[in-house]
Structures are given as C-alpha cells and as structure tokens.
Symmetry: C2
Subunit: 324 residues, 2 copies
Amino acid sequence: MAVYTQVGAEDAAAFLARYDVGELRAIKGIAEGIENSNYLIETTEKKFFLTLYENRVDPADLPFFHDLLDHLKASGCLVPAFIADRKGKWLQQLCGRPACLIEFLTGVSVSHPTPEQAHAVGKSLGEMHIALTGFEGQRPNDLGISQWRSLAEKCTEQSLNSISEGLAARTYEELEFLEDSWPQHLPRSVIHADLFPDNVLMVGETLTGLIDFYFACTDIRAFDLAVTHAAWSFSEDGSEYLPQIGTAIIRGYDESHGIDADARDALSILFRGACIRFLLTRCYDWINTPADAMVTRKDPLAFLRRLDFYADPANIAQTTGQTH
Amino acid sequence: MAVYTQVGAEDAAAFLARYDVGELRAIKGIAEGIENSNYLIETTEKKFFLTLYENRVDPADLPFFHDLLDHLKASGCLVPAFIADRKGKWLQQLCGRPACLIEFLTGVSVSHPTPEQAHAVGKSLGEMHIALTGFEGQRPNDLGISQWRSLAEKCTEQSLNSISEGLAARTYEELEFLEDSWPQHLPRSVIHADLFPDNVLMVGETLTGLIDFYFACTDIRAFDLAVTHAAWSFSEDGSEYLPQIGTAIIRGYDESHGIDADARDALSILFRGACIRFLLTRCYDWINTPADAMVTRKDPLAFLRRLDFYADPANIAQTTGQTH
C-alpha cells in the first residue's frame, strides 16, 4: 500500500526513452500492489503501469510471469502485457530495482458483484485455463497444500489461539483432513491462485481485465475455481454466503471450461483448502504486522467463517451447482 | 503517502453520477498528498482527482481554497479547478469524509530543474500574485513568523539538539534576529507558501500547473518568492547552491510581477525566514514520526544548510540578483 522506491520524473523520462511509447506527460505513485512500487504513467500516446519489484516478488520468477502473460495475451485473454523496449527487452533496472513497463487496462474492481459480473469471472477463469493448456511454464505453489502445515507452525499455536480461541486445534484438524483427502489426481496446470475481486477489472457488467498474476503457479486447476468461489461468493467478513454469486461463478466456469464429475466431486475439499490457504496467510500477516502499521491487516476470521460454511455438508449440494 | 479511506468502485460511480463528467472507467489510489486520500479517476470523458480530506486539512478552510482556485483559474492561472456537480455543489461527503472532485492537470514534477524551468516557475509565481491582487479571501498563516517560536518550544531544546548538536541555540538566535528585523511593512496578499518542485507540473520546459494550495494563506507576498527560491535553488540536501536556478527564479518573478527596492532589500531576511519555517516543521515531524513509519521523514538539516548559505552576507548580492 505504498511506494517504496521514489522514481523522479527525469528517471522516468529516461526510462521511457528506451521504448516506442511516446513522451512522459504524467507519473503518479499508486497506493496498491503487494510490496512493489507501482506508478501510473501517461505518455503522449497511452497509459501504462511502471512496476519496480521490491522484496516480495523474486526477480528470478519474472520470466515466468512475462511468458505467462505473453501466452495468455496471444490467446486472446484480457490480461496486461509486459511492454518490450525497442531492443525487445521487457525487464529493466530502474533506481536500483528490477522494473517493467506494463499495459494499463481500463476498468474498476467491484466491491459488490452482480450475478452477471460473477458469471463473467467464472467464464473468464475457464477461458484462461483453456488457454493455458498449451503453456509449458511451471512455477511451484509456495502457498500450496504442502506448505500449509509449516505455515501454521510458523504462526505458533499460541498466536493462532490469540486470534480466536481454539483456532490452533481447528486448523490442525482441518489440515489433517485436507492432507488425507486432497484430490492429488486432478489435472494440474498454471493457475492464477488469487482471483479476488481486486484482481478483476470490469466496465459495467463486462469483464475488461484479469490482473496481478504474481501468485500464479502450477497446481490443481479446479483449485483456482475453488479460490475464486471462496473469494467472491461471500460478504467480505465471510458471515453470509451469496448463493446467486457462487452459482454464477460455477456456471460461468462450466460453460467455458467444463467441470467433469471428478472435479465436481472434489470441489467441497478444494473449497476448504482455499479457505485454509487464506486463513493461514492472513494469520501469519496478522501476527507479523504491527497493529499500527500503515498496512491494512486483513481479518483472518473472514476465512474461518467461509471454512465453516464449506465444511457443512448441507451447504455443498447448492454450492457445487450439482442441481444444474 | 497513503490512502486512508477506501473508496469502492460502486461508491465512486454513485459519487460521479452527481456530476456531468461521464462514467467511471478506472480509479486508483494515489500515494501522495498531505494526509488526504487521493484517487486518480478516469471517466469516459476525462481524468480527475478525487480528494477525501482527512485530519490535516480543516474542512472549514475548504471554501477558501475553492474560491482561491476559482479566482486563479478565472484569471488564467494554470491551477486545478474544483469541479461542481449538476447542482453547483463542489463539496460533497463520501465514505464519511468531506470530498471534492478536482481537475487533473497534465505534467510532471521535476527533480533537477533547468534554468528555463526555474524561470517559468518565478514568472508563474509572479503572475499568480498579480492575479491575487483582486482576491478578497483571507486565511491566517498558521506556520508564519508569529508561530515559529511556539513551534520551536513544542520541539523542545533537547530534541532539537538530538537532531544536531547546538541546533536549539542556533534556532533561538535566528528567531530573535528574525523577530527583530522581519519586514512587516511589505505588501501582503494570499500566497502559495509551499511552492516546492513537487507542487509544480511541467511538460518539457513549459509549466503546466501549480498545485497543492493547502498551505495557501495571507502573508508577505515577497515571502512566497523567498520560499520558492529556498525550495528550488539548492541540491536537495541543501549543501550546494545552484546559482543559475536561483537567478532564473528571481528574474522570472521580476519580469512578471516586479521586485521593488523594499522587497529586494528584505529578501535576505525573508530567505532566512523561509529556512526557519521548513527547518522547524521538519524538526517537528522528525521528532514526532517514528523512524520505522511508512512515511518518508524529510531531513530538517537540509534547511539548516540553506539557512547557513543565506545568513552569509557574501552570498546575498548574487542571490537577490542585485547585479541585474
């Protein structure tokens, strides 16, 4: 939620001069991004993002992200392209940081999706997965099921219980269940892995962009649908399931990608895995971020409440759309 | 350096619907502004800033800022206008905060001005002062000479000396000098009072905007020239005077507004006052901002070094342009 590296106008102008994108007319630091410095740049021709990679993104992963977006873009998906300079170079150094110029996509992130918007999200996610069938890049999911137990241990039982009484026991019980029942046999590919409303752009009911691929990784494809479902289909605090939204996401994905019987059967487990993944990372951030820091800490319990919902078999039939 | 109040896309769209400015297409929180929340908004027609006023700007001052920019804009000065809605209302409530839609001006803030740019700044400052001759609004300078002593006391001698050995004694000695010699007789009007490079927009050598009027107040008019000179004419840390820049600012102002003998004689004192004003507010912020806060603390000593320069009579003849 901040700009960590200051880029002066002269630096930005010299940077842009390597590209065939017009001359600098405005540059504003943007208050978003996962520990990167992001600038919105306007030239005489177009708008762009300038991203300087700080600590959280490993520069060694940037070629994977570049190739991924390049592939998706070429397949017609609405994703932001990395822009190459006149020599074809898309990864630069600026003010001592790895830096990239990235396409600006029009649209806003909705806070209260309509069923039409949710349908568009499910459909686009499915289209993205179809497009990724031919993509050969790989990146391990360092926030996947194999990491959840050590993430819980890093949080410590005491700290988990300080967030909510009994949370440690509940977490380990759930981890045991997930480790025993995880559908390892389901098809894997690169997935977005973080398709929250923040990471989708809309103009009215039309989806205009899928953004922020910095958690993209190789994992069970249907897990991406489960993450998206958990991210979109609840009130923000997780206390209320929004059936029209959840149904629309499943239906949209089914229309574009299809959901076979294996994946549909496994969804109830994948949903619970999605909840544990965000519960644990939010607990970790909660424990390790001072309460007075100027970073918004996200409530871990919003995903405990979602977990409660998905763990109740009575909720699953409607959720997985098995009546369709 | 942050967004304090989160404005959702639906909130922003409903807000914009009051105005005749087209439909929302993008909204991004901007990492700048003095404790306000600033969003860059793009509609189907134009770009705007959306500012939500947090604690530092007193909402009671907003009509003054509005009238000031309205007057300057009508006089042909390059300042951002407050935009009125269909009913003529320019001050709204949004997400529990006073909020205004403000014109977006193209241009970038330079870090290393050229003499041509500095000349344009001096000239525009003078034009702004001429335009303000007919402006009747008033706002006391709560960071003016009458406040400096109490500001120093709030810092405490001990804390001042912890920033730099002997700083307290030096400060009080300077305050005594300034209180004795301050040119109270010089013409007063509304002044910008904070015309740092951050607050000027340029496209190439052409000035495209004067922005951030939230320190504007009634004070000695030539004090504004002194502040601008001190802000622009040094390396950032204050260790090096840039004679071509300083001379160009004075020359630009003289060409548009004129500098009479009284003002020219008083400049050496006004320069020192400008240094004390920023030295003291930076000391105050330094002392009251934790070192690990995500706000950049500005080095107070950058203005002690400037003060050292201006306090040396050998430097003054060239500085005030008396040879021209």
